[in-house]
């Protein structure tokens, strides 16, 4: 029953785990996507295809991979982070990265060729070019973060596998929903779902404002 565990804590933990995963995943995915989209290199087509394919990477598989990595019988077991929010963040970051990278690639590629030429013609170095194009693709980049966040706030496979749904420590909204459903408490499960949507709504509202704010 929901009253048996702290709803506020569960919500905060969801926000924390998915928020940090989105931030780290975007910090990696946006520059990576910009470089892939704007630089020419051998195998570029293959890299792009692989990135897009990973959109469909099952969260539970990410959970399994991270579990094997951090299990005490695994290579990084000594870090002792299995069944902690940190492991959950790692698993979710892995899900965010391909999504943010892929959408960034598309966004920067779609920036008008004339802008890219103008930027070069005005004397921008390679690095300055990439940064300017990224800024022109601002709307798309925020969109990438939004989609990344959406993927992880809503996923349960990875969170459950590497977190263990421990009351007070690694229980998040999605794993709580799974628990309520398993116990037949469907109304509570739905209520938790509504809370999750409310959380997502607030985050998206903020991101939308960021998106619309013209970086003049």
């Amino acid at each position: 029953m929901i009253s048996d565990y702290d709803l506020v804590q569960v919500t905060l933990l969801s926000l924390y785990v998915s928020g940090v995963a989105t931030i780290i995943g975007s910090a990696i995915g946006i520059p990576l996507g910009a470089l892939i989209g704007l630089k020419e290199f051998g195998g570029k087509g293959l890299v792009k295809t692989v990135t897009f394919t990973l959109y469909g990477f099952p969260p539970v598989l990410s959970g399994l991979a991270v579990f094997y990595l951090f299990s005490h019988s695994g290579p990084l077991g000594f870090l002792d982070i299995l069944f902690t929010p940190t492991a959950m963040i790692v698993a979710e970051t892995l899900l965010v990265i391909p999504l943010v990278t892929g959408i960034t690639i598309t966004s920067v590629v779609e920036v008008d060729r004339s802008i890219k030429d103008t930027v070069k013609a005005l004397g921008a170095s390679s690095r300055q070019s990439v940064l300017t194009v990224m800024r022109e693709a601002w709307v798309g980049l925020i969109m990438a973060c939004m989609i990344g966040f959406g993927r992880v706030i809503a996923e349960v496979g990875a969170a459950y596998m590497v977190g263990g749904n421990i009351d007070g420590k690694t229980r998040v909204l999605t794993t709580a929903i799974m628990l309520e459903t398993r116990m037949g408490d469907f109304e509570w499960a739905m209520a938790l779902g509504v809370v999750l949507l409310a959380v997502a709504f607030s985050v998206y509202l903020f991101l939308r404002l960021l998106q619309e704010k013209e970086l003049l």
Partner: protein, 334 residues
Amino acid sequence: MKLDMKWIAVVVVVILLVTATGAYLLLKGEEKQSLLLATTTSTQDSGLLDYILPYFEDEFVCEVDVIAVGSGTAIEYGKRGDVDVLLTHSPAAETAFIAGGYGEFKKKVMYNNFVIVGPTDDPAGTSDSTNASQAFLRIYENGTAGNVMFASRADNSGTYTKELSLWAKAGLNASTFSNDWYEETGLGMGDLLDFCEEKLDDNEYTLSDDATYYQRVEQGTIPDLNITYSGDPLLFNQYSVMPVNSTMHPHVNHTLAVGFADWLVEQETQELIASYERYGHRLFFPNADGYVSPSSLVVGYVGIQTLEPSQATATQLKETLIVENARALVRCCE
């Protein structure tokens, strides 16, 4: 390339907020020692652990982190040293676990009951069977004849293991069953009961633990299902506790794990378990070695008066009983 200072500030604030939240959440749980316990979903869902663990946490000044997964998964966690102690109900798997050297020891704790659940009118006629195996045989005969169906967990759970052993006792091999009447679902226990309710027209039967059954009844999700057969010792579901081998996995919290195992089989805790009720029923029956249920203590008290003092075992028994008697008598007469 100057970005709006204002928005950089906002983003920084957000990052700080998120980090702060995380730090708060992580740090506030860090003061006490913790014991990582892997158990099954049905154990956790029964509410027993929420009832008894606070006593353990108080006495040992620690926190118990419970991870509830399928039996097979819990055992796997134990083998890998990802948890400190296991509380499971899969006797065969547990024996293999100890034999493989993964556990310090295994102690019986308690049992609950499996029940055969089916449509209220019991079309397979299981209710007057002589034992659970015969009930299963009747289900098999009706199933192959097309009157009823059976929904199986078909996962690594204790329930599934018990189900297979019952088929085997009836001389049947479940792997040969046709899926015209035998459905291997891979569902959890609660979901499986709901599934049988949904498929009432197929006259679905299943094997369930009583706690989950009563819980679903209370939820109101299975109005047309009933316990059609129960009570046979064949349907006992034995729980055991096993601390993970600390030589194989030195990082496990060995002291607390063994402490927990010993605490579970202590007389007081066993009585605590016996006192747990939910959904209007008593769910668990303690049966640790050396557990003496209060009613038998009174008898023992009477009996001890006639024992020869020279019998060593009698002395031991006496010493224990005299201490426990006082408690038991107080409790009995309260």
